[in-house]
């Protein structure tokens, strides 16, 4: 394949703007997939992805297209759309020369449109703006065109109109990819530099790295070397997806494919790292590599304590495919043995929890999410803690810093008021408001990350009837007046329910948590007090009443089968409770500390 006939590109978009459907249409148009195989959203492999309509893991597909008497090879590199995975997005964009920027014809530019566009621009990509879903009844093509021109500086004639659903504009789009996106520039005779932009675990082949060969070539049998950590492996297999795996003997500069080397541990293969050849190494890493860092932490415990080994196994298996997942054993007095887990963000956390429950069938108790706090102690040392339980004694603390983010909230101007109110309630500091046009604004606040991990997303949705889109950047650590608040049941501290909270918000928060727990925890064999305390000072209290009645009032002969079902249901219900001391606590109680609202 001639290097000048290769085009490497990604598709970037805000969630639900039709990225995956468009990718499918491109696959159809290049006849990569027969109709029978056209499951909706072919590139999204995991069930969960399909269900949530989001792309979590990357994929790269090789496509062939004949155009003006030339054969072209197109590599479509799929990217996750969500902010949690922005580093992965940035690395997969680094593997491309161009990107399609998809904007929904009805919704226009949204938060992640911009976030992803900026990432693409940082990587010097040629951008093709695409307005998708143009056949929607509420499409407003002219308005979206104007946004693309006025806000992002595109020319009208660059914009391509498509409907991925109906297949409109796909041929023009593919031809634009060939015409506008430059061919890869690398030199195939240089020493090998191949960028790892994703990896996954295959039960038979071990870790499979997805790479873009930037310079040089890689052949089966080469001794390859990871430049960040110096580990070396023999290249056992090379391949491409078209979209089904096909083996190759060699990948050369400009090409995208997979490489395997009997690698057992996925953490050895770091996204963003550069592969070279051990004997003739490249002199430097490709730019942009940074290790991924967990931002959000929580404890995961099996509801049924005997499933601890299974939970470990589940985490290990998930980790095989997800180098960004961190976990370490943790013990809770209340919950027994579990794991402290670190995630890139909230969505990442939710996805992992859901996968454990669904794919591994382990009922989980998740403790409330925490961020990393930076604590300066009286002896001058600085420690980082990722869990309220690890908070040192108050007298030893000089200062606590917490991570802040800057929001990028896209919304129509009528919602400015409610959003400002929401951000202020979340301890936000006003930064700026940008007007995209007369009606649409981007609101910037600086907010502690720990406030976002509570119910910010849901709140944002309900405050704006679902219209707001949201994205954030991590901006660094700032000092805050924070305290640890404990929750006591029957006089005992339940460590899994402790949270770190701003002092000025503690009283109100304590009252709401105690009240929510009172509603969530069913009546017990005896009366149980629930208290919220800071240090030794109780700041809120409520009581769970004793159960008085649990009886089948009426039961005659024929009823017994029905009543049995009722008792079986009760028994099942009890299994889903966690026994702590002598109190039975339902799973969801552990997350009740998340909600700032009083439950109904």
């Amino acid at each position: 394949m001639k290097q000048e006939n290769i085009r490497n590109f990604s598709i970037i978009a805000h969630i639900d703007h039709g990225k995956s459907t468009l990718a499918d249409r491109i696959l159809d148009a290049t006849s990569a997939v027969t109709e029978r195989e056209q499951k909706k959203q072919l590139l999204d492999n995991m069930d969960l992805e399909r269900e949530r309509g989001i792309t979590i893991k990357l994929n790269a597909v090789q496509l062939k297209y004949h155009y003006q008497n030339e054969d072209y090879t197109l590599h479509l590199i799929d990217t996750p759309g969500h902010v949690d995975f922005s580093y992965e997005v940035s690395r997969s964009l680094a593997a491309c020369e161009g990107a399609l920027l998809i904007v929904d014809a009805a919704q226009g530019i949204q938060a992640q449109t911009l976030a992803n566009l900026y990432l693409a621009m940082e990587n010097d990509l040629t951008i093709i703006p695409v307005i998708n879903k143009i056949d929607l009844p509420n499409a407003d093509i002219e308005r979206v065109k104007k946004e693309l021109k006025d806000t992002l500086g595109f020319n009208e004639d660059e914009i391509i109109l498509t409907s991925a659903k109906s297949g409109i504009g796909i041929t023009e789009l593919i031809e634009a990819i060939i015409e506008k996106i430059p061919a890869p520039k690398g030199n195939k005779d240089d020493n090998l530099q191949a960028l790892i932009f994703d990896s996954y675990y295959d039960a038979y082949r071990g870790v499979v790295a997805l790479i873009r060969v930037v310079n040089g070539k890689i052949k089966v049998g080469d001794q390859m070397k990871m430049m960040s950590n110096g580990l070396t492996y023999e290249v056992v297999e090379l391949g491409v997806h078209n979209p089904y795996p096909a083996k190759k003997d060699m990948l050369v500069a400009g090409e995208v494919g997979t490489v395997c080397g009997s690698i057992k541990n996925i953490s050895d293969i770091k996204v963003g790292d550069t592969i070279t050849i051990e004997d003739s190494p490249a002199s430097n890493l490709l730019p942009g590599y940074k290790p991924m860092k967990s931002m959000v932490f929580c404890g995961l415990y099996p509801l049924d304590s005997s499933k601890y080994p299974e939970l470990r196994e589940a985490l290990e298996k998930l980790k095989l495919n997800d180098a960004s997942l961190e976990f370490a054993p943790e013990t809770s007095k209340a919950l027994g043995f579990g794991f402290r887990c670190g995630f890139l963000g909230l969505l990442h956390m939710e996805i992992i929890q859901e996968r454990i429950e669904r794919e591994f069938n382990i009922d989980l108790i998740a403790t409330s999410p925490s961020v990393i706090y930076e604590i300066t102690l009286t002896d001058g040392s600085v420690i980082n803690i990722d869990s309220p339980v690890k908070m040192p004694d108050k007298v030893k603390i000089v200062d606590i810093k917490e991570p802040y983010i800057r929001t990028n909230i896209f919304v129509t101007s009528e919602y400015i008021g409610p959003i400002m109110e929401l951000c202020q309630n979340k301890r936000g500091i006003y930064h700026s408001i940008e007007y995209l046009d007369n009606t649409r604004v981007s609101i910037h606040y600086e907010i502690p990350l720990s406030e976002i991990v509570y119910d910010f997303f849901e709140k944002l949705k309900s405050y704006t009837k679902g219209y707001a889109s949201f994205d954030y950047d991590f901006i660094g650590y700032k000092s805050s007046n924070l305290v640890k608040m404990d929750i006591l049941l029957n006089g005992e501290i339940i460590d899994a329910l402790s949270i770190i909270v701003h002092k000025d918000f503690a009283y109100n928060r304590g009252r709401i948590i105690v009240e929510n727990l009172r509603k969530l925890i069913p009546r017990q064999q005896f009366e149980v007090p629930i208290q919220a305390s800071i240090g030794n000072k109780v700041i809120a209290r409520a009581d769970i009443k004793a159960v008085r009645k649990n009886v089948l009032a009426k039961c005659y002969g024929g009823d017994v089968s029905r009543k049995r079902k009722l008792l079986e249901k009760q028994k099942e219900g009890k299994k889903r409770m966690k026994m702590i001391g002598s109190v039975e606590i339902p799973q969801e109680a552990f997350l009740s500390v998340l909600s700032m609202d009083e439950e109904d």
């Binding site: 008085r548 009645k549 649990n550 009886v551 005659y556 002969g557 024929g558 089968s561 008792l567 009760q570």
Partner: protein, 362 residues
């Protein structure tokens, strides 16, 4: 040998808001066909056992017209019965009259169970029952005058907005009537009932429990003894028929939606009247496993205040109760009591008996 037989008459002239039993509006076009089908079902299943108890329940059996009732009794004549037969018929206040009572008497009915439910107009209205206090008292006086001695009434408590004082008034009226048996149920808001659809809430749990204690106290003070969670009787007036159920013994069940227990199989008849009239009687048959039989014996047996007779249980199921791990635990926790050859739920925990039963289930 099967000793008990239940016959279901599903017809009602009015549907009570809490009722999730099998019932249909009374329509004389259907009654005769229904009785024909019932007769066929009985002929099909009945093996000639000598019965100790017959129980005609509903629905509202007394809403049948006199001719229809005569036909029902003709059908029942095919049963062989023992000398001390307990023969119960259920009824409501509105549909009882002298002529019907005379007919019952002549056909060996010796126990009446009347759905009074409440004496209070406000609560009766919520329950969608329309009889006045006077009508209730008149009807029960008539029943006694006609020579019936073994009489039960049903009362419901824990009705939304009911107060303890209103409950006490109901109990006092019952006591004035001087009847030997009372079934008194805490209102259950079942799915598929009007109350459920109207989203009526249960009363507060603490108040419910207080009402239960009030009932227990007042009735005990007046010579009634509680022999099952919701049943009180003067000595020797316990319902023999219902004890068959609670003793987990087998029985015939005939009629629309009725259940029976024969040869280790629990069956439930169809609730569809058209199917029933076509002779497709049984809807579901479950062959019980040994474990299920044992669990049923516990679920039902521990409803009795006297509890389960250890010796009988061991003979019937081959299980040494006193060696069972959970039973031993429960005895240690004083939730179950073992005394005089019986195991029973500590009266303190009767109102929490599900908590105990759940632990006894595998």
């Amino acid at each position: 040998m099967i000793k008990a037989c239940y016959i279901h008459i599903p017809f009602c002239e009015r549907i009570c808001s809490y009722c999730d039993f099998c019932k249909v509006y009374y329509d004389n076009k259907w009654v005769n066909d229904y009785l024909t089908s019932l007769e066929l079902e009985i002929k099909d299943k009945y093996q000639g056992d000598v019965l100790d108890t017959i129980y005609i329940g509903g629905g509202t059996p007394t809403c049948l017209k006199i001719e229809e009732l005569k036909r029902l009794f003709d059908i029942i004549k095919m049963f062989k019965v023992s000398d001390n037969l307990e023969f119960t018929i259920e009824g409501n206040i509105e549909s009882i009259d002298e002529e019907k009572l005379k007919l019952f008497k002549n056909n060996y009915v010796n126990r009446l169970s009347i759905g009074v439910e409440s004496f209070h107009p406000k609560h009766l209205e919520l329950l969608n029952r329309r009889h006045s206090t006077k009508e209730t008292i008149d009807a029960l006086t008539l029943i006694k005058k006609m020579g019936f001695k073994n009489i039960n009434i049903d009362l419901i408590y824990a009705i939304p907005n009911q107060t303890i004082d209103e409950l006490k008034e109901d109990l006092n009226l019952f006591l004035k009537l001087d009847l030997p048996h009372l079934s008194v149920y805490s209102l259950i808001i079942e799915e598929h009932t009007k109350l459920y659809l109207d989203k009526v809430d249960n009363i507060d749990e603490d108040l419910d429990y207080e009402m239960y204690q009030t009932i227990n106290q007042i009735l005990t003070n007046h010579g009634y003894h509680q022999y099952e969670i919701s049943n009180y009787a003067k000595d020797n007036y316990e319902s023999k028929h219902n004890l068959t159920y609670w003793n987990n013994e087998e029985y015939y069940g005939f009629g629309l939606g009725a259940s029976g227990y024969l040869g280790g199989v629990r069956y439930t008849n169809t609730r569809s009247i058209s199917n029933y009239l076509k002779g497709n009687y049984v809807n579901e048959k479950i062959q019980l496993t040994k474990d299920e039989m044992v669990e049923n014996a516990l679920i039902l047996g521990l409803r009795k205040i006297k509890g389960i007779k250890i010796e009988n249980f061991e003979q019937k199921y081959g299980i040494k109760m006193m060696e069972d791990k959970v039973i031993k635990e429960l005895i240690k926790e004083e939730k179950l009591i073992s005394n005089n050859g019986y195991i029973y739920i500590n009266s303190k925990y009767i109102y929490l008996s599900n908590e105990i039963l759940v632990r006894l289930m595998k």
